[in-house]
Amino acid sequence: MRRLSLSTRLALLFAGCTAVVSLFAGVLFGRASEMHFVELDQQLMESRLAVLRSTLHGVDSLDTFKQRLPVLLQDLNHQPDLAVRVRGPDGHPWFDSSTRLPLELPTQPGLGSLQINGTDYRVLNPRTDNPDAPQLTLLLDITHHQHFLQRMQHLIWMTVGLSALATALLGAWAARSGLRPLRRMSAIAGSVSADSLNARLPHAQMPPELAELAIAFNAMLERLDDSFQRLSAFSADIAHELRTPLSNVLTHTQVTLTRPRDIEAYKEALHSNLEELQWMAQLVNDMLYLAKADHGLLTPHREPLELANEVDSLLEFYALLAEDSQIELTREGRAQIAGDRSMLRRALSNLLDNALRYTPTGGAIKVVISEAAAAVRISLSNTGPGVSAELLPRLFDRFYRADPARSEGSSEHAGLGLAITQSIIRAHGGQIRCESQEGWTQFVIELPRNT
């Protein structure tokens, strides 16, 4: 089934509401007028009844009735819309004012209504205290009332129909104009593509209900734009990182082959190529590792670990490098955790490697392990020039290097280390962040205790 548009739905809803309300009002009004007519009829018939009773006062037999009949007929002549049946106290019919009256008429006391040959009558059987008095049944022709009521019913139905139609049209118009910001929103959303992610909705001019949606939509665009920027920067970076070593290998090989050389020159060329190729292989392996992490395939093989021991082994491994630069390596605190030994060692070694690169000679690197209620914290801080605040969020980006004047080449680190560390920590359900001020930089890892 085709789904109805929002405008159509609103128009139908408005029309329905109006129809129900006007129908209700109409029915109420109709009932009220009908009741009013009944009251009027009753009053009228009671006043006529009083006249008839005074005419028939003292009648107690058919004979006395017949004496009064001319007066009664004279009374009735003045009232063409009134018909009367007179019965004796025993219920036997004495007189009908009209020949059209059926044999059977309601006899129970009170007011009722009746239809005879298409004409509507109000019927009154008055209560009587005198059992010897003749019984009267009054019938009042109320055709004109019924006509009025019928006309009014028609009017009500017409009002219902017309007002429903009018509100449907007005509602459709109102809905369409009310939904205009939504259409503008969908037009902008429709125009968004990879190269126009910078379009934003003017939420300040929108009605409050839509402004919220517009703000959420803009925020989504913002995040998309950011991820897309990072992704395209990543692809560009891959190409950039690979281009230099590739062109080195190409050029060097071609130059070497242009003329015959001695064996040492060939050896030198192969060695140089080897270095470039190893660097590229490392880059590809690192990128595969990150791709695995991105696809959620980095599943830690958990075992109980004493973090202090792991950190100590790493510090021992890096001790030689640290000694070379007279950097002091220390560790404080201990904690147990269930984690993947080689993955966590790799994560921490990247941080240590990074810290050793940026700590000036004579500086210090300190690893502090602490336990909180739900998490184990490892902080690794080093002395040296801090990282500026605007660079902090980008620190874990792939190929990001704090030094903007990056130099690529086989001796230089590819800038994937911190991204890999972050992937490993996340695969363990933890978080990593970097804090920095002038004079020191600190990486803080928080790992959930129950992992």
């Binding site: 080897l274 292989a281 491994f317």
Partner: protein, 226 residues
């Protein structure tokens, strides 16, 4: 020492064969799974090098066939897939080692030698020696040309590794793994520093150098004619 390589990529197979032959092994190459399995079951090989993705039968199936035939040959897997599940799967089936492409040939050679050595060297050496360099495993002492050399514990382990595998080019990753138990890819230059320090103590005052750098591949301890 006869090795079987099952690798469907012609270039890779040829280079592996050449490299291993030149390292002193006799090798045979199969380029599909069915031939590979037939050779593995009928030939008398000391080691199998299997690619995982192969036409006909994959590496896992060959390994299963070999193990169910009761053959206890060491098996080294080569693969471009490095999902942890793959690794676990391979080790469960009875693979002995695992290398992920792209890998360095020196790494492969070192692993092949480790696998072949496994089980064969049962004799407990009390000392290791090369030229005038002597390492006493019991008293944990090192001497060169009769002069005692003081080494730290790690330097001792490093020298022991180099001596045990003298003549072999040891990649940095293998050294990091064997001496420091660091089993991850790392492009750090800790090993360079360690070798430099060891050289300072072992080689610097001697005319004949024993520790040599093989550019782009690793380090080797051997006596070179000069």
């Amino acid at each position: 020492m006869k090795l079987l390589i099952v690798e469907d990529q012609a270039k890779t197979g040829q280079y592996l064969r050449q490299g291993l032959s030149e390292a002193g092994f006799s090798t045979e190459l199969a380029t599909d799974g069915i031939t590979g399995q037939h050779l593995a079951l009928t030939g008398d090989y000391s080691l199998l090098i299997l690619d995982v993705m192969l036409p006909g039968r994959d590496g896992w199936q060959i390994l299963q066939a070999v193990r169910s035939a009761g053959l206890d040959i060491p098996v080294l897997f080569l693969t471009a897939r490095d999902a942890v599940e793959d690794r676990v799967h391979g080790l469960e089936l009875g693979a002995d080692d695992y290398l992920v492409k792209p890998f360095a040939f020196s790494e492969l050679l070192a692993r092949v030698r480790s696998l072949l050595r496994r089980g064969s060297s049962t004799t407990q050496e009390t000392s290791l020696q090369l030229a005038d360099l002597r390492l006493d495993l019991i008293r944990r002492r090192v001497e060169r040309a009769g002069q005692r050399i003081d080494l730290t514990a790690k330097e001792f382990s490093l020298l022991e590794l180099l001596l045990r595998r003298q003549g072999e080019v040891l990649p940095k990753s293998l050294i990091a793994s064997q001496v420091w138990d660091m089993n991850f890819d790392s492009d750090t230059n800790v090993i360079e520093v360690a070798i430099r320090r060891l050289r300072l103590k072992i080689d610097d005052n001697h005319e004949h150098k024993l520790i040599h750098t093989v550019r782009g591949m690793g380090y080797v301890l051997e006596e070179r004619a000069h």
